[in-house]
């Protein structure tokens, strides 16, 4: 059981996060809740990318006074570099979306997408 969890909690968990986010985006009608779903998908993708570069017993790829040469068992630094920037961009894009939501609320006085004209389904 522990082995199974160790092996699958990161891949399975990140896919689960992506799917929960997608479910929220499809079923919720409140714009803020839709954006919470999008943010969950973002987090899931970040976790998936980082866990693809994990090595068992690996350490952070930084050369310091204790880890003093490059022959140690480092984890993959490339996904970490990608995710580092992707987190900040996620924040900025989320803020842009919230700005649009503020304007929508000013115009229609509601956040329910089924009541906003032009977004009915």
């Amino acid at each position: 059981m522990i082995d199974f969890l160790e092996k699958w909690s990161f891949f399975g968990g990140s896919v689960l996060l992506i799917l929960i986010g997608l479910y929220g985006v499809i079923t919720r009608k409140n714009l803020i809740k839709i954006f919470i779903g999008l943010s969950l998908m973002d987090t899931g993708i970040n976790v998936l990318l980082v866990s693809l570069g994990y090595v068992e017993g690996g350490i952070a790829p930084i050369i310091t006074s204790t880890i003093n040469n490059n022959s140690y068992n480092f984890v993959d630094p490339i996904p970490q570099a990608l995710v580092l920037t992707s987190i900040v961009i996620g924040v900025a894009v989320l803020a842009l979306g919230l700005g649009v939501i503020i304007k929508i609320y000013e115009k229609y006085n509601t956040l329910d997408i089924s009541e906003i004209r032009g977004l009915r389904w």
């Binding site: 896919v15 050369i63 310091t64």
Partner: protein, 253 residues
């Protein structure tokens, strides 16, 4: 449970099976295995070249405070990727951040510059005075994280976020506090232009954009890494100012 929720659930389950079966495929020779967590084959990935600092130079050992003049002198390997090997990607991502911040300002632009309809309660004594103490400390911590980004965990994105947090606390604590948007713009433009001009100087001096044209020095010294710390400081300023701008726009909306 209405019809739409059931339909969504079926879609999600099908998609989940579709994604997870990709992890179960047993790879053929030369393909990347997805089904064994924790067994990433770093030795055969590009990452090993970055760890050994040997993309264009022979493979030698990198030793703390001893190795000199490697092709990238930064002790933090993630930093050497973000600000040196793949600095062009970082330039693109900083541009995305800039576009998002500018777009937010454009969307929330208010002609009358009316007072915010977001009413803060009367400032409490603890919040007001606690932030007076915390604000300089947070700016100091953020600057430290940015400047030591090539030596220790952290870097410009994290440090920029810490500095933006300091301004968020300041904006939350007092009603009168206003940021001078012109100064923010000047800092942002200067940082962006210096990032690009460092890259262009590399093009002029060494023949390719964003080349490390300075000496990289001894690994793990503060003054090492060539252009890496300089680029990291410009990115840090840019991220800090842009996140502060986003917070300011959202609070004034």
């Amino acid at each position: 449970m209405n019809f739409r929720k059931i339909l969504a659930l079926i879609t999600i389950i099908l998609l989940g099976i579709f994604i997870l079966q990709a992890f179960l495929i047993i790879p053929e020779k030369g393909e990347i295995a997805l089904n064994n967590f924790g067994k990433a084959d770093i030795e055969n990935r590009t990452a090993q070249l970055y760890i050994d600092k040997s993309v264009n130079s022979p493979n030698e050992q990198v030793i703390y405070k001893e190795s000199k003049d490697k092709e990238s002198g930064s002790a933090n390997i993630v930093t050497s990727i973000v600000a040196n090997y793949r600095a062009l990607d970082t330039l693109g991502e900083v541009t995305v951040l800039f576009l998002a911040a500018t777009g937010l300002s454009a969307i929330l632009y208010n002609k009358k510059h009316a007072k915010s309809n977001f009413i803060l309660k009367e400032d409490s004594f603890i919040l007001k005075n606690g932030i007076k103490i915390l604000f300089p400390l947070l700016i100091l911590a953020g600057s430290y994280i940015i400047i030591y980004g090539h030596l220790s965990p952290g870097g410009s994105f994290q440090g920029g976020a810490v500095i933006a947090t300091a301004f968020l606390l300041k904006l939350l604590s007092s009603k009168e506090y206003e940021l001078d948007e012109n100064i923010l713009k000047i800092i942002e433009v200067t940082a962006g232009v210096s990032f690009v001009s460092i890259g262009l100087y590399g093009l002029y001096a060494e023949g390719s954009f964003l080349t490390n044209f300075l000496e990289t020095g001894t690994i793990a010294n503060l003054f090492s890494g060539g252009i890496v710390p300089i680029i990291y400081i410009t990115i840090g300023l840019k991220v800090a100012v842009e996140l502060t701008n986003i917070i300011n726009d959202l609070m004034k909306a």
